[in-house]
């Protein structure tokens, strides 16, 4: 096994363990912290694929900003294991069925995918480097890029409008 493979396995185990702990943990604060660990593991995978820009943006945006807002809400609501109301049993069963159905869809989609011909470019791909990514975004995909930025802008304006309502 090369170092890349060892790192891949460590990161994968970290990601899956973290994702399981997000669901299993009793305290919502711990769930958020485990989710942050999942983001770190995924960023590690991006680095293995030589996509450093994607890795660091994943950390800045998700682990650094969005998860902080999650923590804000959870800490202010002061959810403890004993004060949290027990959910309806039927709701839990429905959740399990919905999640299982999603898993089935994923497995079904992966089963038919042609995995052999699409091996990830570990360690030597250069599409994830910031230079190439920037060129691709602003040359080939400039219109979708601009449209999505307009979408973000409208979301921002919407947030301001909702926030202004007395």
């Amino acid at each position: 096994m090369s170092i890349t493979q060892i790192l891949f396995w460590i990161l994968s185990i970290m990601a899956i363990l973290g994702a399981l702990m997000v669901v299993v943990s009793k305290s919502p604060v711990y769930s958020v912290l485990w989710l942050i660990m999942v983001f770190f593991a995924i960023s590690g995978h991006y680095i293995l694929l030589n996509a450093q820009f994607l890795a660091i943006v994943n950390l800045i945006v998700y682990a650094g900003a969005i998860m902080v807002l999650f923590l804000f809400v959870i800490m202010l609501m002061n959810l403890n294991a004993d004060t949290e109301p027990q959910k309806n049993k039927w709701l839990k069963i429905a959740g399990v069925i919905a999640g299982g159905a999603l898993l089935l869809v994923f497995v079904g989609a992966l089963k038919n995918a042609d995995l052999k011909s699409q091996i990830a470019e570990v360690n030597h791909g250069d599409i994830g480097l910031i230079h190439n990514l920037g060129l691709a975004l602003f040359n080939d995909y400039v219109i979708p890029f601009e449209i999505s930025s307009v979408l973000f802008l409208s979301a921002m304006v919407g947030a301001v409008v909702i926030g202004k309502k007395e």
Binding site: S2, V29, L71
Partner: protein, 357 residues
Amino acid sequence: MVHPLLNVDLALIIEKCILISIIIGLSLIVAMYETWAERKVAAVIQDRRGPNRAGPAGILQPLADGLKLFMKEDIVPKMSNGFLFILGPGLAMLTAMMTSAVIPWSSHINAFGREISLQIADINIGILYIFGVVSMGVYGVMIGGWASNNKFSLMAALRGASQIISYELAMGLSIIALLMLTGSLSLKTIVDEQLDGIYNFLYQPLGFLIFLVCAFAECNRTPFDLSEAESELNFGYHQEYSSMKLGFYLFAEYVNMFISSAVMATLFFGGFDIPFVNDTAFGQAHGQNLLAILEGLSLAIKVAIFIFFFIWVRWTVPRFRYDQLMRLGWKGLIPLALVNMVVTGFIVLLKVNHWHF
């Protein structure tokens, strides 16, 4: 046959390990003497003597402070969250230390038949790495504040975190204008561009000003130390902490100050460039090693000036009110940074077009 796992440059690993230990040790020593400098400068500003008992001019005072913090009883509150209570100060210290990895402390030295670069990692996303680590620093404050199980700590932690997030935006926007000029995210490349040319400060004075204000806010320094406003929040997010856990939080602030001074010097003031000297010619005339040492000293002097500025402002300017802080961040600095970005972009485009519309 050599096992593929061992197929790495062992000398490189040893070299990097030594460099990392030196830089971590250096940041700790600098942080220690920042506390001493802070008390001395405060004393001068307030017309006092400052620490003068431990050693000549109180030079051993930081050691005495450290010893005091280590010797104190370490109290963990009964209703606190045990693991997170310890994780908080640890994270604060870890993130403060990690930022130093991408700062070029000097050019390379030649020793043991190798060219040793005095930068831990020259990655092509250098600045973004710093932003990533800084945004992780929020967790040290938030986890510590929440795990204390104290309402004042929690409120202070939320204040601190929302302040850091708000000012990170303006900081990022002010950097974008700079990146348009340099065309690279690597700090080494940014310094190399300034070696022969003009410092970025002269191209981006407004960007530097915004970055400076945001750096103050990110370090939780006065006038932005809202999370430690003792008149409103008792002691802040580290109220329940004692002994060296408290020391870690206080220390992390000083390490952050050191690193952000180094980042500002690197981005806007030429990094390790020696002012008014042609570095390459000097290196050829007097040898690369001497040049590297002098360049390191040059960066150290720039950093020291910034640290002095941090301290000077702290003992001169009173604290903001919280709504003033938020108004400055969102309604003052972010629009200003956006204008700076648009103007810079316009000029860069014009330059590419050879000054024709």
